[in-house]
Structures are given as C-alpha cells and as structure tokens.
C-alpha cells in the first residue's frame, strides 16, 4: 500500500487540507473508490476506512491480482467534517456539485479539479455518497441513466437494488456523472446511514465492493454471492408525504414490506400530544427511503415506496 498526498490546499489559520490516496497493487488503473465529499458523511468515511484495512491485508497476502491498481480516497472534505458542517464551511458550496472542477476557479472547483485529475482514467469508479434529502435508504447501487451506463455491471455488487437515475441539471456537477462522462463505469454506493455509523450496512457495503472487485478480476476474495439485484428506475418510486406538520412517529424502516392501507407513520401534535394524522400506505410495496428526523413539515416526503414488490 502506498499512501500519498493527492491534493493539498493551504488554509489561512488551520493546517493544510491534505487529501490522501491509498494505492494497492501495481499496473493498470482498475478501480478507484472515493469517500466523503461532504462533512456529514461519517458512514461513508467509516466504510472507506474498513476497505483500506481489508485491502491492506489482501495486498499483503497476494490477493490483489497482477497488473491491477486500486486507489481509495477515504476523505475529501474532512475540513468540514471536523467542524460538523455539511458543505465547504467558508461559502457553503458542495464539492460534489463542482466536478469536473476548474484548476484556476473558485476554491471548491480547484479541489474538485485536483481530485478529478487523479481519479479519471480508472476503469471503474465507486463513490460512497449521500442523498440531498437526509434520511435512511435500503443499501443500493445508484448509477446515472446517461445512455452509456452499464446496469449489468452494477448488479455485480450483489446489493439488493440497483437504482437508475435520469440526471437533472444539478447532477451535472457530481463526481458520478463526470466519471461516467469521462469513460469510466461509475457507481455510487448508498448504505443505510449517513451521519451515524451503522455497522451492519457498512459491512454490507465493504463486502459489496470487494465482491465487485473479485468479479471484475481485480482481487481474489472469497465472499458470499450477495443478492441478485432488482433494478428500478428512480422515477417509479412512490413518494409518500406528511399531510400535516408536527412530531413524526416512524413505524417502518427501509426494507420493510407494507400493505395497502396499513398505518406506516403518525404525526403528533407537538403541544398536546394527540395523534393528528395517520399516514396510510397508498400501495403494497417495500419501503426504500425513510425520513428520520423527529419533526416533519406538511408535505415533506417521509417515505419512498417501491410499489407492488414483495420482500
């Protein structure tokens, strides 16, 4: 394993922002794995750290197949993480909206450009990212429906679902989109949590990446075959919204199966404690996403449902 500085930025008072890349194996640029670009992506950091730990052992035992190079960048935005800010603290800009970046542009455009220069050219790009709406997901692989994506490769992670997303204007600055546009097979892996550590889904994410690398002939690793993934279009997810504001009582978790008409959440009057709304499932299906904050605003999305699918 070679640990090297792939980008650094001087700060007025703090130590330099130093972004490290950990390289395993030698040869062709096979796979690159990128961790948090946002300061609240603690789970993503944890997953990358566990991957580096495992790849270090695999390299030591000769399990990285010859002529393959894997790079892991475990953290890009620890400057924000250390002060508990989600975005770049100075101007609240989102590094994951600045790719491919500009080397002579604004600060976060420069960081993005510096990173992109190092991560492009790999055959497979895997990013541990988070959704713009905070909440919990079923672990899944997400890829942009750009017309050049390879959905069948995404199945090789062995996670329960592969999600296809039609890119919108605000996706054009993401690493995933730009990776794909530069010719890589790009995937974003989502686990159950973001700003907390969920060991079970973190381990699932680590295994899914190792499984993918094994199936692509990059490493030798004996692991469970995982799921035969179901592929879904993001557009087909059914949003379920709260009809009133108040204290939110969540009754279902990601992955739970629900029936039409079943009570899946309640909203409670924050002053008087009475239940003021019961949210009923509008369809049979599987819960894909859940709102997790204790308060909810009228019309806020509390669940996304995969319709008419059973566990």
């Amino acid at each position: 394993m070679i640990k090297e500085v792939i980008y650094s930025l001087k700060a007025p008072y703090r130590e330099d922002l130093t972004i490290y890349g950990y390289t395993f194996g030698r040869g062709e640029k096979s796979a690159c794995i990128v961790g948090p670009t946002r300061g609240n992506e603690i789970q993503q950091l944890y997953v990358c750290s566990q991957l580096i730990k495992t790849l270090t052992i695999l390299e030591r035992t000769g399990a990285i197949l010859s002529k393959n190079e894997i790079m892991v960048i475990p953290s890009i935005n620890h400057f924000s993480m250390n002060i508990e800010k989600r975005f770049w603290a100075m101007d609240n800009s989102d590094i994951n909206k600045k790719f491919p970046g500009k080397i002579d542009g604004e600060t976060t455009e420069r960081i993005a450009a510096g990173i992109f220069e190092k991560v492009k050219g790999y055959s497979y790009g895997i990013q541990f990212a988070s959704f713009h709406t905070p909440g919990d997901f079923i672990p899944h692989v997400r890829l942009m429906d750009t017309g050049v994506q390879n959905t069948s490769l995404a199945n090789l992670f062995g996670l329960p679902f592969v999600m296809l997303r039609k890119p919108e204007a605000f996706d054009y600055g993401t690493l995933n989109y730009n990776w794909q546009m530069s010719g890589a097979n790009a995937f974003s892996v989502y686990t159950s949590a973001t700003d907390t550590i969920d060991e079970v889904s973190a381990n699932q994410a680590v295994s899914s990446v190792l499984r993918f690398l094994t199936r692509m002939g990059i490493i030798k690793y004996n692991c469970h075959s995982g799921y035969i993934s179901s592929t879904i279009d993001e557009d087909t997810l059914l949003p379920i919204r709260a009809d009133v504001s108040g204290i939110y009582r969540r009754l279902k978790n990601p992955g739970d199966e629900v029936r039409f008409g079943e009570v899946i959440a309640e909203v409670i009057d924050p002053m008087e404690g009475e239940t003021i709304s019961q949210i009923l499932s509008p369809s049979d299906g599987i819960i894909f996403f859940t709102h997790t904050k204790p308060l909810v605003i009228q019309n806020g999305m509390i669940y996304q449902l995969i319709r008419r699918m059973h566990v």
């Binding site: 007025p12 420069r110 605000f170 054009y172 504001s245 806020g300």
Partner: protein, 312 residues
C-alpha cells in the same frame, strides 16, 4: 392590500406565510399592465428590502399616477432572512435552485410553485438580489444570452451601471428568472451591494429605475428621473481575479474604479508573520465592478471581476 400567497405549517406552533403587497390604480379598467417585484429569495440578501419600502412609499405619495398593478413580494425566504441564512434553514437548499417547484413537493418546492403561479400573467417581473457576503457588486442586470433580445430594452430602463450578458450555466435553469422567462413573463435579475448589508444609495438608484420601467410599460404616468446609460458587456470582456494564496485580503483599490494592467488590486497577508503572501496585480486594464468584501480567503476565492477596456 396585503395578501398571503402561500402558507405552510411548521412543525411546532407556527405557520410560515409568504406575503405580497398589491398596489392598484384608484379606478380599475380591467386591462392594466402588471409588474411584479420579487426579492428575499436568499436570506442573506437584504438590498431588496429597502427597494420594496421606498417603491411603495413613493407610489403611495402619488397614487393618482399609478395606471397599472404593482405586486411586491418582499421576502420569499422569511426563515432564511430571520436566521441570517442564505438558503432555506433545515433544508440546506438554495431556494433559487428550486424553481419551478412542485405543488406536490416539499415545503420549498411548494412555495416555489405557488410564487410562480402567483406571478404568472404579469407583464414584467424584476427579481432583486444582493451579492453574497463575500463580494461587493455595483447595481447591475445579468441576462443570459438566450434572453438578451427580449429583455435588453427593459434592462436599459432600470438605472443600473452595468448590464452583463452571460452564457447561462445549466444549473441556473432552476432559478426564478429562468423559469418565468420560460413561461412568457419577461423577468430580469438585479444584483447589487453586498450580503447582510443594505446600501441606501443603491436602493434609491434602483427605485428610480423601476419608476422609469413602469412609465415605459404604461404602469406609471408621473414624472420620473433620468436614468443612467449602463455599460453593456459580454462574458468575453470580464476578467476574473482569484486568490492564489490563503490568508487575509486587504484591498488597495476602491470598488467601481478604473484600474490599469499591472496595478495592485490588493495583498493577501499573513497576520502571524507580518508578511505579504501574495500581491495581486490587475491582469488587464478596465473597471473593477466586483470586489472582495469578506477578508478571509482561501486559494481560489474570488477577489475581483474587471470589465476590460472600460475606463472610469
């Protein structure tokens, strides 16, 4: 008349109301032109607040000269404005990237949808922004190249110092301005001043411009002040100056002044060593129309924009 455009219940004991003020002629004929003034989309931009106040005050002083309808939306993002937050608190979203919104969407999308719905049908809309807290701007209109023909004559009436025709990045398609222009309401965005501050002279300058525009549109019959002739520029004539060191920026120049190639724009200093880390020199001759206001900079922070080939 003050009307609530949209109400959203917040989780605990509060309702969020987005309001508008409507001023109408004393006698309604039914074919009046309508102008909408929108501001306060970003919670840290306050320059538009004085414009709303002064516009209403002057109209009311001569209400008999009002021949059209004026709808004023002083604050689209009240939570951000009172929390001194650019975006919408709790959502961490830039509201001006959420248009056209959705009637079935969450709070921000829902507000965006209702605001668009309320403005639709207007003959002109002006969206007033300040700069953010980092950069001071002269009063200016920014128009994407695709709308320049349709909006140029309106922009010339607004009494701004500068009209900047730019190539629209894709992300700006989610702005109020873009959305309304797409829906047939000619809409211009004004930028001026600096975030979290209010520049009275800029506000009065823009109010003069709004009266001039209203007169041209048949909404105002009273006397109006002569408007200034703005400098008109395209992207190719604007030079961006970025910090090439991190530290504290100390300007050597004043905002909206001429500068010659090689002149000092300012220095990035390091307080603990007493040293200059980077002396910033002008890359071209021209007018400095944007200048760094917030002193702390990282490598890459925007320091100035210079409009090349223009002298004071």
């Amino acid at each position: 008349m003050i009307k609530t455009v949209v109400s959203v219940g917040l989780p605990v004991g509060e309702v969020l109301n987005i309001k508008k003020r409507t001023l109408k002629p004393e006698k309604i004929r039914g074919n009046e032109k309508r102008i909408c003034i929108v501001t306060g989309i970003h919670g840290d931009e306050l320059e538009g607040q004085y414009v709303c106040y002064e516009l209403i005050r002057r109209i009311q002083e001569q209400i008999s000269c009002l021949t059209g309808i004026v709808d004023i939306y002083p604050c689209i993002n009240p939570l951000g404005l009172e929390a001194i937050t650019r975006g919408v608190p709790t959502f961490d979203l830039d509201m001006n990237r959420c248009f056209p919104g959705s009637a079935d969407g969450d709070m921000v999308e829902n507000i965006a949808d209702k605001v668009i719905d309320d403005v639709l049908g207007a003959d002109i809309c002006i969206d007033i922004h300040a700069s953010d807290i980092f950069i001071r701007e002269i009063p200016q209109v920014r128009i994407s190249n695709e709308n320049i023909e349709q909006l140029f004559d309106y922009a010339m009436e607004l009494n701004v110092d500068f009209i900047w025709a730019y190539e629209s990045p894709t992300v700006l398609q989610a702005t109020l301005t873009h959305t309304l222009n797409q829906h047939g309401v000619p809409t211009l965005a004004i930028e001026m001043g600096v975030g979290m501050r209010l520049t009275k002279s800029y506000g009065e300058q823009i109010v003069d411009g709004l009266f001039s525009l209203m007169k041209k549109a048949g909404i105002w019959s009273g006397e109006v002040n002569q408007v200034r002739k703005p400098i008109v520029s395209t992207d190719g004539e604007v030079e961006l100056v970025h910090a090439e060191a991190s530290g504290i920026f100390v300007p050597d120049i004043e905002h909206w002044n001429g500068i010659r190639k090689g002149d000092a724009v300012g220095s990035i200093i390091e307080p603990i060593t007493g040293e200059i880390k980077h002396k910033i020199l002008a890359p071209c001759s021209g007018m400095v129309f944007s200048l760094r206001e917030y002193p702390v900079v990282y490598e890459g922070s925007l320091i100035a924009r210079i409009l090349g080939g223009v002298e004071s």
